[in-house]
């Protein structure tokens, strides 16, 4: 493998990884704020693509279609919190996890209705334009996805640290009851966390759609990749979700180069099982998944 090839693979991995990050952000964010994981995040990424494809086919301009996909994701996220997560929360983590997974399977049915059962691609935003830098080809569509991803993470990070709303979110994440007593409307905060997560996943799915075959039942694979990303980074950490996503993307790009297409998917799964078995707190040690045994 030449250096150019390696850089090329890394860039492919970066692009795919950014899509994973967009879904992983939702895992991390909802987990951080509400202690619940929305298992539908992978499916929301898939739905982003499906909705964009369906809207453009219906004649909508591409920008409207992308916006529609993002809003759809946000809407589903919001509904998931209000209708599913909140009423079921008192029955515990497992029930909520399963309920959001159930939402994910409902989305599969919806996706099958929207785009049918065959894999679909979205037409390129840029007409397939590619810039070559030192022998390395960079797709414009991919560059757009990377730029938007980085901007979104930066924006969310800035919002959390430097706005009242963001600080209220961090407060709720830290101590819900305490925040409630301070007058934070934690219910709204939690709903917002789900909605933002869904919005980001929908947008990510839309931007990813020209480079990825959108399939009605592809959400689970994306969910596994996104969860691997979020866990690698330490579940709950936003920066971790971004880095983890890129790491998963790059590893799977190299794996498929060396061992064939399937190995990419396989490497993601193996990465996830390994990280859960040996270092569930993530590579950067930001969060922990182990039960706290303290009385």
């Amino acid at each position: 493998m030449t250096l150019t090839q390696a850089v090329q693979l890394a860039i492919v991995g970066l692009i795919v990884g950014c899509a994973y990050s967009m879904a992983a952000l939702g895992f991390a964010f909802t987990y951080r704020v509400t202690r619940f994981v929305n298992f539908a995040q992978g499916h929301l990424l898939m739905m982003g693509g499906a909705v964009t494809i369906a809207l453009t086919e219906g004649g909508a301009p591409i920008l409207i279609a992308i916006l529609g996909a993002a809003l759809f994701g946000g809407f589903i996220g919001l509904i998931t919190d209000l209708v599913v997560v909140r009423p079921i929360a008192r029955y515990g983590l497992h029930s909520v996890g399963i309920a959001t997974l159930a939402v994910a399977f409902m989305l599969e049915g919806l996706a099958a209705k929207l785009i049918g059962r065959d894999p679909r691609f979205l037409d390129s935003f840029s007409g397939g334009r590619v810039t070559t830098v030192g022998g390395v080809r960079i797709q414009w569509d991919g560059a757009l996805l990377v730029v938007v991803t980085v901007l979104l993470f930066a924006l969310l990070g800035f919002y959390l640290r430097h706005s009242w709303g963001g600080k209220a979110m961090l407060m709720t994440a830290e101590n819900k009851v305490g925040s409630l007593l301070q007058g934070v409307r934690t219910g709204r905060i939690e709903a917002a966390a789900f909605a933002i997560s869904g919005f980001v996943a929908g947008l990510g799915g839309a931007l990813f759609a020209p480079m990825y075959s959108t399939t009605y039942n592809g959400g689970l694979t994306l969910a596994v990749a996104a969860f691997a990303a979020a866990t690698l980074g330490g579940l709950g950490s936003l920066a971790g979700a971004l880095l983890g996503g890129v790491l998963v993307g790059v590893v799977s790009a190299f794996a498929s180069y060396w061992y064939g297409g399937e190995a990419g998917q396989l490497s993601t799964v193996v990465l996830l099982v390994a990280i859960l078995s040996f270092r569930p707190s993530g590579l950067f040690g930001l969060r922990t998944g182990r039960v706290d045994w303290r009385a």
Binding site: L101, L220, V269, W293
Partner: protein
């Protein structure tokens, strides 16, 4: 007393006997009134019921859930199919191989993963399920024949009957279900390990107080459950005579899961009944197959929203315990006739439990600083001190619940290298908690009897009523004055707080301890119960058990303790007899504040 329902007047064996009779009648009679087509369907439902039972069993005894059971079914089915179709092996040999191989995979998967909490295990099993699908579709396609899978699986023979869909498969699958339900229920209610596991599934920390090595045992449950799922997979392959990756994907796990949600995981029977409904459903709703997973998603959410314990609520079983809802008319009375049983090996020796130089800080806050304290057999050592003095932290360290930054725990000068809660219970050091650790899913009697799980040197007693046989249980119940209460098979949620404390203490005594650490046992007790507690502690002392007693109620503490240690800000300031401590100026200063300069005693 509330009037007893007819159910609670039935003898204890009535329900199992009734269940088994109905089950056998179902097995024998159904083929006579059901046509062949529906018999095939119900037979298929039986296979799903086995799968649901395997998953439900896992959830019940580990408190965890798995989305890998569809994959376990796949591993079993593929092993059998590859062995019989491609290599001409005998069906039963390959079926056994498939079950064992899957159990092994399950065990290896569970050992690292069961330590994870909540969501992580769901995700890990989800990932495993993806892994199996990817392997079956592609990477292992030379063995698995890729997307096509294997066809032409021969139907096996058992006692001269070929297991074909219809009557034979119906009898076989439901026979397995019937035996499975009986075994699982017996395990859950009549074996110490089953009761202990149910307790640990609900509250892992509480289960540590009687020394259950939870992860190790749960991994075995996981392995057995995976093996049962593999068996279901093998039968599915036999019924359809084929195996392919899509039939055994995550969808199968979700179907099994839907049955659990609909039927409720609390008892083995629920998911089994749900399996019939969900297998019959596609017959009436023809678009069900197309949108199966989405519909199952809707069913799951709807049931969780409307009936979170499942549609089948087992009213008769609940009523049985509700029969005694009225407040206990006899609050416990103490009869000091019986003796607590200590470990026979250590009854004659005098033991000492010593924490030396223990230091522990949390994020820079020093909770314990160089504390050295010794407990002895037959002595009650009280530990007092204001809030935040480090009393409970000290108890947590000694009982192995948290690891100290430095310092050692030694039993008779034997330094314990890894003081885990299990290790401490094994060595006879057990504790109670400030808030009693009570398992809501267990009956009152089971809440006590699970303590016998690790009873040292004793025959383990299960949750049977203590009639004859269970000497330890009998004696402990009598000592704690719980005999009457327990015999009325109280639903634990109606038991008053003071009695819960006694239940926890009784459980702890059942482990045959040498040292009992009590964390504020008098808190929340009324005067009568306090007197009872003081008598109980006296009794423990006279039995030669070493008692460590943390207590905020200073008069109570001083009246029962032989030696008292006074802590403040993580340090052990004084040790002495109650009399010495009472008059100690330092102690008075701690309790009455620095401004006080008189000869007043600590309020007694």
């Amino acid at each position: 007393m509330a009037p007893k329902t007819w159910l609670s007047r039935l003898p204890a064996f009535a329900i199992p006997v009734a269940f088994i009779s109905i089950g056998i009648a179902f097995l024998v009679l159904t083929p006579f009134w059901l046509d062949d087509y529906n018999l095939r369907l119900v037979g298929l439902a039986g296979i799903y019921a086995i799968l649901a039972l395997s998953l439900g069993t896992l959830m019940r005894f580990t408190g965890q859930l798995s989305l890998a059971h569809g994959s376990f079914a796949a591993i079993g089915a593929y092993t059998m199919a590859v062995g019989t179709v491609d290599h001409g092996q005998d069906f039963w040999v390959m079926a056994l191989a498939g079950v064992l191989a899957t159990s092994l995979v399950g065990y290896l998967l569970a050992r690292p993963l069961l330590r994870l909490s909540g969501f992580y295990l769901i995700v890990a099993t989800l990932a495993f399920s993806e892994l199996v699908t990817i392997l079956a579709r592609g990477s292992l396609s030379e063995i698995t024949h890729g997307v096509q899978g294997l066809t032409g699986i021969r139907r096996p023979e058992l006692f001269g009957f070929v297991i074909t869909p219809g009557e034979n498969l119906f009898r076989f699958s439901w026979g397995v279900v019937l035996v499975g339900v009986i075994v699982v229920e017996w395990f859950a209610h009549r074996t110490p390990i089953g009761i202990a596991l149910r307790a640990a599934a609900e509250d892992p920390v509480g289960a540590k107080s009687f020394g259950l090595p939870a992860v190790r045992r749960q991994a075995i449950v996981f392995a057995v459950s995976a093996g049962a799922a593999a068996f279901a997979g093998i039968l599915l392959a036999v019924a359809s005579r084929s195996v392919d990756p899509d039939g055994f994907s995550i969808g199968l796990s979700v179907s099994a899961f839907t049955m659990i949600i609909v039927g409720g995981a609390g008892a083995a029977l629920g998911p089994v009944l749900a399996a019939i409904g969900l297998t019959e459903l596609p017959e009436f709703v023809d678009w069900f197959g197309t949108y199966q997973q989405s519909i199952e998603g809707i069913i799951i959410v709807a049931v969780l929203l409307l009936r979170p314990k499942g549609l089948v609520s087992f009213a008769p079983f609940r009523k049985r315990s509700r029969a005694a809802r009225s407040q206990p008319d006899a609050s416990p009375t103490l009869r000091l006739a019986a003796a607590v049983t200590r470990n026979p090996a250590s009854t004659t020796r005098s033991l000492s439990l010593r924490a030396a130089g223990v230091t522990k800080s949390f994020d820079g806050l020093t909770a314990l600083s160089d504390v050295t304290i010794e407990f002895e057999s037959g002595r009650v050592t009280g530990i007092m001190g204001p809030n935040g003095a480090g009393k409970t932290t000290l108890l947590n360290v000694i009982s192995g619940l948290i690891v100290a930054d430095s310092g050692t725990i030694a039993l008779n000068d034997d330094v314990i290298k890894r003081p885990t809660p299990e290790a401490m219970v094994r060595r006879g050091v057990v504790r109670t908690y400030q808030t009693p650790r009570i398992f809501r899913e267990l009956s009152a009697l089971e809440n006590v009897s699970c303590g016998s799980y690790r009873a040292r040197g004793a025959r383990r007693s299960a949750g049977r009523r203590p009639r004859g046989g269970d000497d330890d249980l009998d004696r402990v119940l009598e000592l704690t004055g719980l005999t009457e209460l327990i015999h009325q098979s109280y639903d634990i949620s109606n038991v008053p707080f003071g009695t819960l404390r006694l239940i926890e203490i009784a459980r702890v005594l059942l482990t045959r301890p040498d040292f009992v650490l009590l964390d504020e046992p008098a808190a929340g007790l009324d005067p009568r119960e306090r007197a009872l507690l003081a008598d109980l502690i006296d009794e423990l002392r006279s039995e030669g058990i070493g008692v460590a007693l943390i207590e905020h109620d200073v008069p109570f503490l001083l009246s029962v303790a032989d030696v008292v240690g006074v802590m403040n800000f993580g340090e052990l300031l004084r040790t002495g007899t109650p009399q010495e401590v009472r008059h100690d100026p330092v102690v008075q200063e701690i309790y009455l504040g620095g401004a006080h300069h008189g000869e007043a005693e600590v309020v007694v």
